[in-house]
């Protein structure tokens, strides 16, 4: 099973993948392309990844969080390629017998993905395009 996709994300399919009859709650997080970043307009985003390494890094995060919250099941899918404003770039589902663990697990998963997984985004807008996080020094 891959954590990366080039297709539109179907969050409910992700929910169906993880929910068990013992679960009393799931938290679904979706990251969405917005129309602005640091004061300038954004029209679309191109997502790039070091695919095999990104798969491994997301897999480590899922395994860690499922170990930390032993009753929680985690599913993740991150979309790559060209996305428009309003498109979901990532969906995370954390299902658990109780809501507290589901909320906590979901927060940790998205925070860690943003820190360590080799995925990049190039924002495009009327003012041009730029790779987020890269400061030009020339």
């Amino acid at each position: 099973m891959s954590y990366l996709t080039d297709e539109r994300i179907d969050p409910q399919a992700l929910v169906r993948r993880v929910m068990r009859r013992s679960d009393g709650a799931y938290v679904l997080f979706e990251g969405v392309v917005r129309n602005h970043h640091e004061g300038h307009a954004v029209e679309s985003i191109f997502y790039d990844a070091y695919r095999p390494m990104a798969e491994k890094e997301i897999g480590k995060i899922v395994a860690d969080v499922e170990q930390q919250f032993s009753e929680t099941a985690v599913a993740v899918v991150h979309r790559l390629g060209d996305l428009a404003v309003g498109d979901s770039s990532i969906a995370i589902v954390c299902a658990s017998p109780h809501r507290g663990e589901a909320f906590a697990a979901c927060r940790i998963v998205i925070d860690r993905i943003k820190e360590t997984v080799p995925i990049w985004k190039k924002e495009r807008g009327p003012g041009g395009e730029e790779w987020v996080g890269w400061q030009s020094k020339c």
Binding site: Y50, K114, T116, K121, W131, S136, C138
Partner: protein, 81 residues
């Protein structure tokens, strides 16, 4: 010895390639490969410190020793999610 260098995101745009095979001296480290890139691409000249590095799909120190056939990638600041 030969190592394969992979380029992603801004580094692919700057270098105009997605991978290249490099001949490097035995015992080379990512830091030295980065200096070679800086010397080749004006847009990288201002970056005396390398970004994070990955060897064979795992994060590695810029001072880790490379081996024949290794796959090296520099990881610019990530922005997933």
């Amino acid at each position: 010895m030969k190592v394969r260098l992979l380029y992603f995101a801004v580094l692919r745009d700057i270098t105009g390639q997605s991978e290249s095979d490099l001949d490097v001296p035995e015992g080379s480290r990512p830091r030295e490969v980065w200096q070679r890139l800086r010397a080749s691409y004006e847009k990288l000249a201002g970056y005396d410190q390398p970004p994070m590095a990955a060897i064979n799909e795992s994060y590695a120190s810029p001072d880790a020793v490379l081996h024949e056939g290794d796959e090296l990638a520099f990881i610019p600041p990530v922005a997933g999610g």
